[in-house]
């Protein structure tokens, strides 16, 4: 299940050579099983649940739907790259303090989705938040505490700018 070819992926700013890989592997599989980045989760394999959300050239995508070998020209960012100094981002912090985490399987994907939303829209309406997160399924929380976490980040960021 391998070839002698290799390709290079740029993930979180660093180049990773992927060698002896089956060409049919998804970006999610390569991140998790070959590059030691298991933060992105697989839960549906068809782009419905958002657990595997990464950024490819700044766009939030489901890495289960991207062929890894097709992403060689792209800048890929994963949850592991959000904050490399070990501290939490404001979104991550709010997820913890507002109770948005239960089993946590959807959490990395949701954290990526929320960062992406707030980078593009610093004061989303309630409906804009719901729409932006509707591609990320959470089975535990019923979403209430996730909305609370988003609200908190928005409020804190606004406060910081005043």
């Amino acid at each position: 299940m391998s070839s002698n070819e290799f390709y290079t992926l740029k993930v979180n700013g660093a180049e990773h050579q992927v060698s002896d890989a089956w060409i049919g592997e998804s970006l999610l599989y390569v991140l998790r099983e070959r590059l030691g980045l298991p933060g992105s989760k697989g839960a549906c394999e068809q782009g419905e649940c958002g657990s595997c959300t990464v950024y490819v050239d700044g766009a939030a995508v489901c890495s289960c739907l991207v062929m890894a070998a097709s992403a060689v020209e792209s800048e890929i960012a994963t949850v592991e790259g959000l904050n490399t100094d070990g501290s939490l981002t404001d979104v991550q912090e709010a997820f913890v303090t507002e109770g948005a985490v239960q089993c946590g399987f959807c959490t990395p994907g949701l954290v990526m989705a929320v960062h992406h939303l707030l980078d593009e829209n610093d004061s989303p309406s309630e409906l804009e938040v719901k729409e932006a997160l509707s591609g990320n399924i959470c089975r535990c929380t019923g979403y209430g505490r996730i909305f609370a976490a988003v609200d908190k980040v928005v409020a804190v960021r606004k406060g910081a700018h005043q």
């Binding site: 839960a43 239960q102 946590g104 399924i137 019923g142």
Partner: protein, 753 residues
């Protein structure tokens, strides 16, 4: 816990999850994230047919594929060929007959998931198709020959109670249908097995609800002593009942033992739909007899739960269903007949609510019919019949639990209704959402009610105890238990208990594994009560010994000591010492088993004190419906839940909101479609789960009345939120469109055709 006078995260505070930081960073190790040197991947071959005889299995081509290391079938199972939670009736691999679509036939270990896929495709199985028993009613009586040596009726239970000759002034009747719901946890089944070097044992990391039960069943199938199978809880991505049964545990361990290499198995989403049990689809008939004023005098009912091909927990689900026929209402007489049956449909077992969901959907439909029949409203009829502590159930069991049913209804009713749908509402707020198909002017609003009672802990004489060990050293506590953390937050609660009992700040949880006694299952809303009781008990024993130690050192009778915040104080003197200082240089370790009070089996008339305790909840749903398109938007859920003592408000709120979303799913979205035994929608594209846009506004009140039976005064809060919200939403749809709907989930055609 109103009077918290400490900055420490004791009971009553919204202490944060200790695994929260790791989870938000993607650092938390779910079982599927595990990796081992020289690891193989495992995969399962499953039957495409719901009922067939296996003529032959040919693995010769598959084993020749480069990278394939091992293929196992029933012939390779060294021990017992079957497993099961209550009766051991489910084959590790089908041998002669497959009884449901998706039943495992063989497993393969190979170097890559794609190699596994190709190997499975290369195994040839010859089948002779058999008639499919897919209608649960056909499983009762002699209409269909037995599809399993244990027969087609898994269990029948009747309840005969009170003066059954009574007739009501008012009689209402209904037939109800509850669809098959999937737990749909996000982290699919996963395990990693590491064989011992001598091949005589195996360590297995697994996402499960009950390590010791897995260990017991695995030991029998693998023909190994239980201690040779060391189970460790791998990170669990949700459970909701679906991890109570064996799925890939035996397969993974057996592949590892046969190849002498680490093996990881992880189901994909489609396989997950076939790899675990679901919520029982059921049909329920009920006839309520009431006085002219609306007081229930008798209930007649008949339940049929479709258990699918294997028994799993069907017999216990049945008991939960029939014993909750009356709901949270007084009822002096009942005649109930219930069956859980075997069919060639997917096996069904535990899911949040466990048989009570089905009963509640029916009894709440009946309460609304009763209200209509006597000309009153849903709130009045429920208050008129509301159960109280001291009432007798139709099983003859007295309700000793706190039962604030009337208060729950009143408090829910006090929650303000949401504003009317505005004329210029965004299309995302309309039924159908972004489909932009509903028109504002067509939309009708409805309000509905649901109230429920749920037994907590296991029933019918089962001693589902829990074990915990507390070790105090240098002011630090380490807690050891086998309690499965599936997301519910026991790893948050356990240190809170230690901080409250022992006055420490630094309390952590040790690895969750089988190196201590059983904790029982993370199910039946039982872990706060049972494992909470065990941790509390262990911490109290340690406190007693610490008091003895300090008493001996200072010549004070230890009976005079108490913990006051983070200090030990002499209640009859002036001596005080911080717990940190008092425990310097010593180690005190104690283990405690918590048992709940004994319960009884039901007799042939369904009489007996079979349940431990009960929790109650009320839900009011507000929905917007487009009657022409059959689309529903759940606008608001108001709820008041009987929680006993609140130990962690944030965790309780998380359970309430999460349970409501799952109940909403069963009300209007989620159903595994099974046609003649074949599952038609095993994917997240075709099995729809509530998204952020489907989530209603939830307004929740936690009703705190200390439960004296519970070790911490707290009732389990996991299941009640999802039970009566489903009938509340369906009642609101009925209210909106004025049409009788007798099934859930409600489909567009149920509304508009």
């Amino acid at each position: 816990m109103s009077a918290v006078k400490t900055k420490r995260d004791v009971l009553g505070t919204s202490s944060l999850r200790p695994d929260g930081n790791a989870k938000v960073k993607g650092d938390f190790a779910f079982t599927s994230d595990l990796h081992a040197e020289n690891m193989l991947w495992g995969a399962t071959l499953r039957s495409p047919h719901p009922h067939a005889r296996i003529i032959s299995i040919d693995t010769s081509a598959a084993i020749k594929i480069a990278g394939v290391e091992c293929i196992i079938t029933s012939d390779d199972v060294p021990g017992q060929l079957t497993y099961g939670l209550i009766s051991s009736d489910q084959p590790v691999f089908a041998k002669d007959v497959v009884r449901y679509m998706g039943e495992p036939i063989a497993a393969v270990a190979a170097d890559h998931p794609e190699t596994c896929r190709r190997a499975l495709a290369a195994i040839t199985v010859e089948y002779e198709l058999l008639p499919v028993l897919f209608n649960a009613e056909d499983a009762i009586g002699d209409a269909f020959q037995a599809i399993h040596p244990d027969g087609n009726v898994i269990r029948r239970q009747q309840i005969i109670h009170g003066d059954t000759s009574v007739e009501g002034d008012v009689i209402v009747e209904g037939h109800y249908v509850i669809g098959m719901q999937d737990q749909a946890f996000l982290g699919t089944e996963s395990a990693m097995a590491l064989p011992d070097p001598d091949g005589q044992g195996v360590e297995v990391f697994v996402a499960t609800q009950w390590l010791h039960e897995d260990q017991k069943q695995m030991a029998a199938c693998l023909n190994l002593p239980p201690e040779k199978i060391r189970l460790v809880l791998g990170g669990v991505g949700g459970a909701f009942g679906a991890r109570e049964d064996i799925s890939l545990q035996v397969h993974t361990a057996l592949l590892a033992l046969r190849t002498s290499r680490p093996v990881k198995m992880q189901y994909g989403r489609e396989e997950s739909f076939f790899g675990h049990v679901h919520r029982h689809p059921a049909t329920v008939w009920m006839r309520h007899h009431a006085t002219a004023e609306g007081k229930i005098v008798k209930i007649e009912a008949r339940f049929v739960f479709d258990g699918g091909a294997y028994a799993s927990t069907s017999s216990a689900v049945l008991i939960n269903g029939v014993t909750h026929t009356q709901g949270p209402y007084k009822c002096p007489a009942a005649v109930v007949d219930g069956y859980s049956v075997r069919t060639n449909n997917p096996p069904c077992g535990a899911m949040r609510g466990f048989g009570v969901v089905q009963a509640c959907f029916a009894h709440e439909g009946q309460m609304d019919k009763l209200a209509a029949a006597i000309g009153t409203d849903p709130v009045t009829i429920r208050l008129l019949n509301a159960m109280e502590t001291g009432d007798t159930l139709i099983t003859g069991q007295p309700v000793e639990s706190v039962a604030p049913v009337a208060r729950l209804i009143r408090e829910t009713n006090e929650i303000p209704l949401p504003p009317a749908l505005s004329l210029d509402a965004n299309e995302l707020d309309l039924p159908g959402g972004s489909g932009i198909t509903a028109e504002r002017k067509h939309i009708k609003r409805g309000i509905g009610w649901g109230v429920s009672i749920k037994n907590i802990m296991y029933s019918e004489g089962f001693d589902d105890y829990s074990t915990a060990k507390c070790t105090l050293s240098d002011g630090k506590v380490v807690l050891k238990f086998a309690t499965s953390e599936v997301g519910q937050g026991f790893v948050t609660l356990a240190p809170q208990i230690a901080r409250s009992v022992l006055g420490v700040t630094d309390a952590i949880c040790d690895t969750i594994d089988t190196q201590i006694g059983s904790a029982g299952s993370t199910s039946a809303s039982r872990q706060t009560w049972m494992s909470g009781g065990a941790v509390d008990g262990a911490c109290r024993l340690v406190r007693e010994r610490l008091f003895e130690h300090i008493g001996a050192q200072n010549n004070i009778d230890p009976i005079r000591f108490a913990i006051e915040d983070d200090e030990i104080v002499d209640t009859a003197g002036t001596f005080r010492i911080s717990v940190i200082e008092a425990s310097q240089g010593i180690t005190i370790s104690e283990t405690f088993e918590h048992h709940h009070r004994a319960t009884e089996d039901l007799d042939e008339n369904g009489q007996g004190n079979c349940h431990v305790a009960f929790a109650f909840v009320a839900h009011r749903a507000v929905v917007d419906v487009d009657p022409e398109l059959g689309l529903v938007k759940v606008v608001q859920i108001a709820t008041a839940q009987d929680v006993g003592q609140v130990l962690n408000p944030l965790s309780v709120l998380g359970q309430i909101e999460g349970g409501i979303a799952q109940g909403l799913g069963l009300a209007v979205m989620e159903e595994i479609i099974v046609q003649e035994g074949r599952v038609r929608n095993p994917s997240f594209t075709d099995y729809l789960l509530p998204t952020a846009l489907d989530a209603p506004v939830v307004v929740a009140r936690m009703i705190e009345e200390y439960e004296p039976q519970a070790p911490l005064g707290a009732k389990g809060v996991g299941e009640p939120p999802c039970i009566s919200v489903t009938p509340a939403i369906v009642a609101a749809i009925r209210d909106a469109i004025g049409k009788d709907i007798d099934r859930c989930p409600v489909r567009p055609q149920d509304i508009c055709l």
